[in-house]
């Protein structure tokens, strides 16, 4: 139906779209998702050849080369076979005609009906999109933004177009009308739709497939539900994390820095947390990773940091860990939840090489973890439960924080000190002389733990194992530390294994939750699924007994509708 090949659009020197390849089958709805400035609107307009910039490449609509078509040909196609519902802005509708007239006009213009019939169809359409009949003869300025949006939609489908381009079709509507109008758009199933939106909700409601646009390139493409539930490109995941919704339970996280267009390499590399050298110089090829799933990333999408494969450990007759398999992706938080004695800490200690597993293997970045090389400990760090113990009472704050650098023999004294200051700052601790020379017993519990975290962060690890890092702290200190950790995740793409018995805290900070009981991982999945629809009775019990401000909030989870 629609084939776009190597589409490049530039306004002057600025390349807005850079090699877009897209295919739309008849009747299919594809959402173009991306931040403002990604080139979504330009792509939509290019298809109708309505852009003012230079267009190169191929756009083939039902066999017609749009970029080579004459003006007359285009005239026949525009509004008749391809229609567009513009993003509602005040200047789209003609202020001197009533909205009914404006919807009638293209029908008459393309000679589909006579004026009388056309008016009838126009009224039907306006009614269909929920505009009150007494508003049909109103002028655009008399209508609210939402009503104008409905008019634009009615206008777009007035000629039974084969391809409908919708630019932010629902953004002017409030939440309830949004789902209602969304349903109406969706009901028109014969029509092929190209939806440009920054709103993931719109995309998930209207589209079968999603193409994620960043910096003029498609970075990820696939089935809508797949892309949204299991994003593979770091940008897609970041978009989802920044999007307030009722599905995910983790705190919102922004994407670091702002939208820029780097001169070379992958467009996302300045904001990506897993950039390697090649990302800066070479634009990634789009590769198909599974059915209908395409991704453009040198790292093959979000990489897997750590995998534990069937780890077992017994202490005498006690089987502390039974065949535990986990994996943690880059920039992801996996919460390991379970009661005391369920083997969480043992598993953490095994990952850190503090304890030898009886069987099983640990992989870091795809290779078997080598604990004899110091390199492992530059990448993986641990935060211990009790900061009073994990900090030596003989070492001052500065000595404690720089200890990893002393051990790894990184930098000279001044550099070590500078790094220490930086991480102390990141953890919101004072950087004065006076504080640097304090000993742990002069610090509060919260300060001690933040010093311990600063120490774990000084080598810029990629994975942090946090074993009940806030167990000894009050709620406010806990919130502060968790926020700081999430912030680091946003900035550096830090992966975290967050070990806790508190599923309420886990829910706020983790992407995925794994539940551990008597040494086995009994349930694992996205945090929202575990919290709202747990399968295991033990998980249900955990949730029921989690902290709540209303005594009855979760008590009825068994009966609660899912």
């Amino acid at each position: 139906m629609l084939e776009i090949r190597d589409l490049r659009v530039s306004y002057g020197k600025e390349l807005v779209l850079d090699g877009i390849d897209l295919d739309l089958k008849r009747g299919e709805a594809l959402a173009l998702v991306g931040e403002s400035g990604a080139g979504k609107t330009t792509l939509g307009l290019s298809v109708m050849r309505l852009v003012e910039g230079q267009i190169r490449g191929n756009i083939r609509f039902d066999g017609i080369e749009m970029l080579k078509a004459s003006e007359a040909e285009l005239e026949r196609i525009r509004w008749r076979r391809i229609a567009i519902a513009f993003q509602n802005a005040n200047n789209v509708l003609n202020p001197v005609h009533s909205v009914l007239d404006q919807v009638t006009e293209p029908i008459v213009f393309h000679g589909l009906m006579d004026k009388y019939q056309a008016r009838g169809r126009a009224s039907t359409l306006l009614g269909y999109f929920g505009l009150a009949s007494d508003r049909f003869n109103a002028y655009p300025h008399q209508l609210s933004g939402g009503e104008q949006q409905r008019v634009l939609l009615a206008m777009a489908i007035s000629n039974y177009p084969e391809l409908l381009i919708l630019d932010e079709p629902l953004s002017a509507l409030d939440a309830t009308s949004r789902s209602e109008v969304g349903k109406l758009i969706k009901m028109d199933g014969d029509c092929t739709k190209l939806i440009a939106t920054h709103d993931l909700d719109t995309a998930s409601k209207l589209a079968d497939r999603i193409a994620v646009l960043y910096g003029g390139k498609i970075v990820e493409e696939g089935q809508a539900s797949q892309v949204l539930s299991r994003p593979r490109h770091p940008y897609t995941r970041a978009l989802i994390r920044a999007y307030p919704n009722m599905t995910t339970v983790k705190d919102l996280q922004a994407i670091k820095e702002g939208l820029t267009r780097p001169g070379s390499g992958c467009p996302f590399h300045p904001r990506c947390t897993q950039t390697i050298d090649v990302c800066r110089t070479l634009a990634p090829e789009t590769v198909t990773i599974s059915d209908e799933r395409k991704i453009a990333c040198h790292r093959g999408g979000i990489i897997t940091r750590l995998t534990t494969s069937s780890i077992s450990k017994s202490f005498g007759l006690i089987r502390a860990v039974k065949s535990a398999s986990l994996s943690i992706e880059a920039g992801e938080t996996l919460a390991l939840v379970g009661q005391t004695g369920s083997g969480k800490t043992t598993l953490a200690r095994i990952i850190m090489g503090l304890c030898q597993p009886d069987s099983g293997t640990i992989y870091l970045d795809g290779a078997v973890a080598n604990y004899s090389s110091k390199n492992f400990y530059q990448k993986v760090q641990m935060i211990f439960q009790n900061p009073g113990q994990s900090l030596s009472h003989r070492l001052s704050v500065l000595q404690a924080v720089t200890e990893p650098l002393d051990i790894q023999n990184i930098g000279d004294r001044a550099e070590r000190r500078a790094k220490a200051m930086k991480v102390l700052g990141e953890m919101g601790l004072p950087q004065e002389e006076n504080f640097l020379y304090r000993y742990p017993h002069h610090l509060s519990g919260g300060e001690m733990q933040r010093v311990a975290i600063a120490r774990a962060l000084i080598q810029d690890p990629v994975l942090l194992i946090a074993d009940e890092p806030t167990a000894f702290l009050d709620a406010s200190n806990q919130a502060r530390i968790l926020k700081q950790l999430l912030n680091l995740q946003e900035q550096r793409g830090l992966s975290m294994l967050y070990i806790t018995h508190d599923i309420a805290a886990a829910r706020k900070v983790s992407d995925r939750i794994a539940v551990m009981l008597e040494g086995s991982i009994i349930e694992e999945g996205p945090a929202n699924e575990i919290v709202t629809a747990p399968h295991e009775p033990y998980t249900k019990r955990l949730i029921c007994s989690a902290s709540s401000l209303h005594s009855s909030q979760y008590s009825g989870i068994e009966q609660a509708p899912v």
Binding site: F384, Q389, L391, I407
Partner: protein, 281 residues
């Protein structure tokens, strides 16, 4: 939370007394060349003279000044004592910590060696060895050290095993620290008080053994030693000479050992806080 061994010793009166005694002994030994009126080896025809102004403690059977020999004897005793103390504690620490940190075959062998050394009656071995070798100061230090580190090593290993599980040591391991680093930077400082007690114990025993061997006449006969003095004096016990010849080295030896015992006793709460007297925080 800090165990302050200095304070612990200073706050006990026995500890203070022990330190005073030991300091005096050390001063006498150090200053021997300055205070001693005569060369301790110099023999004169004036044998078995009673005390006089020129010879405070008289002369021995070969006409050597007893006071000078007493001072030089302190040097031998303390040198053997501290030398053995240092070496034995060093060996014990290295063996104990390494056995605790390196597990597996090494630990098993090391522990069996320690067990074996503990059951061997050390004094008999020392006497046998000395009888053949006739050790001088250095040899004696080596013999005594190699035969007296095992008790300390056991205690140190046990302590290290419990220290090893401490959070900050686990943390250091997660920074990629080597065993040597952990032993040196974390375990030795934490063992400090125990090492001191072990050291004092070793010093005390070495001084006692050195005197004993000399008394039995099986160490280097040319060595000036309290033990040799007592032995020589004893063979002249039918004369009055024993009063100024036998008693002074006896007192000196007893005082040194008592002084060390006092310090050790004062430091004991450090290893075993239950020994602590009520009222001392």
């Amino acid at each position: 939370m800090h165990i302050n061994i200095k304070r612990e010793i200073r706050e006990s009166s026995t500890g203070k007394a022990g330190i005073i005694i030991l300091v005096i002994m050390i001063m006498l030994a150090l200053l021997a060349p300055l205070i001693a009126p005569c060369n301790p080896y110099h023999q004169s025809p004036m044998s078995l003279l009673p005390p006089s102004f020129s010879h405070w403690l008289g002369m021995n059977h070969v006409g050597q000044d007893i006071w000078s020999r007493l001072l030089y004897g302190a040097r031998t005793s303390l040198m053997v004592g501290f030398g053995t103390g240092a070496l034995a504690t060093l060996i014990g620490t290295a063996a104990g910590i390494s056995a605790a940190l390196i597990d597996g075959l090494y630990e098993r062998i090391m522990m069996r060696v320690i067990d074996t050394l503990i059951i061997i009656p050390m004094i008999i071995v020392v006497i046998l060895l000395s009888a053949y070798i006739r050790p001088g100061v250095i040899t004696l230090i080596l013999i005594l050290s190699f035969l007296s580190w095992q008790g300390g090593a056991r205690v140190i290993r046990a302590q290290t095993l419990s220290l090893k599980e401490k959070g900050h040591i686990a943390a250091a391991r997660t920074f990629g620290a080597s065993r040597l680093y952990i032993a040196w930077r974390h375990i030795v400082p934490d063992l400090g008080p125990i090492l001191l007690v072990d050291f004092i114990y070793n010093v005390r025993r070495a001084i006692f053994l050195e005197a004993g061997l000399a008394f039995l006449g099986i160490s280097d006969p040319n060595m000036v030693s309290w033990g040799t003095m007592m032995r020589d004096a004893l063979s002249y016990s039918y004369l009055d000479a024993w009063r100024w010849w036998l008693i002074p080295p006896g007192i000196a030896l007893s005082l040194t050992i008592v002084g060390l015992t006092f310090i050790g006793h004062a430091a004991e709460p450090v290893i075993e806080p239950r020994f602590r007297e009520v009222g001392i925080a």
